[in-house]
């Protein structure tokens, strides 16, 4: 019994990481209808960048993340304003093709710079420290930190979109970009801000991922898949929906791993398929 509770708890905490993966993806899609095929690769890029900062500057992962976040913001802004804005239009194909190309470029660049060896971000005691909650139940400090961070990010994004002038502009531009222009919204700038914020979330997700597990340059597509599944399970339109999707995916995978170590990922995919069959709009869709 306790073993199953433990499984669920670990799954929920894992879901926090998946929620972090997913929220950046869902943000970009929500504001600009842009599916970023390179999303997983950006997470990897952030993980490797975080690792380079830790080893290069000799600082803790936390400091490295604080340094990385503004860099990610600038990177996202430049990426959208300089490249992706030109791909946006009525056709859904150009952004897919461009981000697919970016995915390949990033993977090969990482391979070139870091080689194919797997490695991870050294975080010392945090990786193995755990909190004992009672009879046979313990949660790691790292998964707990990741989960709490995911909640903080979801709260922050929900606040940004729901209660601020910029958030209203994001939603208005998503509804009707021409009418938004009539209101004085500069779409090029707004889209760039959205991607910039998404990249900050990606940076957080990447660094946590790099601490939690070993990373290799070609891991990107798998992460994109988890992010995508979490978004679909949760439904479009709210960050809490995406968060729930991540948690559900995490729990499904955790149950799968408990049943058989080879089934973990598969059960996650099966849960995703089940949701697609039964509720294709996701479990908590808020719009469209």
């Amino acid at each position: 019994m306790i073993a199953w509770i433990d499984t669920i708890v670990q799954g929920v905490l894992l879901g926090g990481l998946y929620a972090l993966f997913a929220m950046g993806l869902s943000l970009m899609f929500g504001v600009m209808r842009l599916v970023n095929i390179a999303h997983g690769d950006f997470i990897l890029l952030a993980a490797f960048a975080g690792m380079a900062l830790v080893t290069g500057l000799g600082v803790s992962p936390g400091i490295a993340l604080l340094v990385l976040m503004p860099l990610a913001f600038a990177f996202g802004y430049g990426l959208q304003r300089g490249i992706l804005n030109f791909a946006l239009g009525r056709d859904i194909l150009p952004p897919l093709l461009i981000t697919f190309g970016l995915s390949i470029v990033i993977q090969n660049a990482l391979l070139q710079i870091f080689s194919a060896d797997t490695r991870s971000i050294q975080a010392g005691a945090l990786v193995t420290a755990s909190l004992h909650l009672g009879e046979g139940l313990a949660v790691g400090w790292l998964p707990l930190t990741i989960f709490v961070s995911a909640i903080a990010v979801a709260l922050a994004l929900q606040w940004l979109f729901g209660a601020t002038r910029i958030g209203r502009a994001f939603r208005a531009a998503a509804d009707d970009s021409e009418a938004a222009q009539l209101m004085g919204v500069d779409n090029r700038h707004i889209y760039a801000l959205a991607t910039a914020i998404a990249m900050v979330v990606v940076a957080i997700a990447g660094v946590f991922h790099g601490i939690r597990t070993t990373i290799a340059p070609t891991d990107g597509p798998a992460l994109l898949l988890y992010a995508f599944e979490a978004v679909v399970i949760g439904g479009l339109g709210s960050f809490w929906g995406t968060f729930a999707g991540g948690v559900i995916l995490g729990v499904a995978q955790s149950i799968g791993f408990r049943l058989d170590p080879g089934w973990g990922i598969l059960v996650g995919h099966l849960a995703f398929l089940a949701v697609l069959l039964v509720k294709p709009n996701g479990l908590f869709p808020k719009t469209r």
Partner: protein
């Protein structure tokens, strides 16, 4: 306040406007009438920056604004109530109004002033904009445009799809604002309303101005001729 000189507009290779000369003076209400496809909406698109225009073909308050991006023109003080209202579907009524104030232009219209003018919006402020009736949506769209504190207000076919009694009510509200000083371009399908409400009138026909003059001085016959191009 606004003048266009030999304004042309193209959709790709298709020419929609063939040299429009039009002017709106401060404090005037100018109406534009014409059949569907005459070029009225195209004209408004060039004024508001949604369609490219030659740089010096449109002058607003002493500045050439032809070809300027729409968000800069909105910042300069031109606000439009778009055809079909185009409220933001995923925003509440109040959020839609707040979007009107995005440019943060100073002026006498703030949220309270708009609610005073259009009390039904205050009642429904937290509801999704899609839950309003057609007339209420039109009022919301007008309120949204007013919150931009524009120098020039443009109303594109605000009577479209609304019952006559609702149209009357809306023009009554516009009339109240007018007393405090309003410069506006009104594009209307309802010729009678256009003549009644405006100081001067332009008739568009196949991308050209076919008639212009003081609204109270133009005969019904002259307008019919110009409208249909007979």
């Amino acid at each position: 306040m606004l003048t266009t000189h030999n304004l042309t507009a193209f959709y790709g290779d298709f020419q929609a406007l063939f040299g429009i000369d039009l002017e709106v003076n401060a404090g005037e209400i100018v109406s534009i009438i014409g059949a569907n496809g005459a070029g009225k909406s195209t004209f408004l698109k060039t004024i508001t920056g949604l369609l490219k225009a030659p740089h010096s073909a449109v002058r607003f308050e002493g500045r050439d604004i032809g070809g300027m991006p729409a968000h800069r023109i909105a910042q300069a003080g031109i606000a439009m109530v778009p055809e079909g209202r185009r409220l933001f579907a995923s925003l509440s009524v109040e959020e839609n109004l707040k979007m009107g104030a995005y440019t943060r232009r100073p002026g006498r219209f703030d949220l309270d002033a708009v609610y005073a003018l259009l009390p039904v919006l205050k009642e429904k402020r937290t509801q999704p904009s899609t839950s309003l009736s057609g007339g209420q949506q039109q009022m919301a769209a007008i309120g949204r445009a007013l919150l931009a504190n524009p120098r020039l207000l443009i109303c594109d076919e605000i009577s479209l799809g609304l019952a006559p009694i609702v149209v009357k009510e809306i023009y009554e509200i516009l009339g109240r604002i007018r007393k405090e000083g309003l410069t506006a371009i009104i594009v209307e399908q309802d010729v009678g309303m256009a003549r009644l409400f405006s100081d001067r009138l332009y008739c568009f026909q196949e991308g050209r101005v076919s008639l212009s003059g003081r609204s109270d001085a133009l005969s019904h016959e002259a307008i019919s001729k110009a409208y249909f191009g007979v």
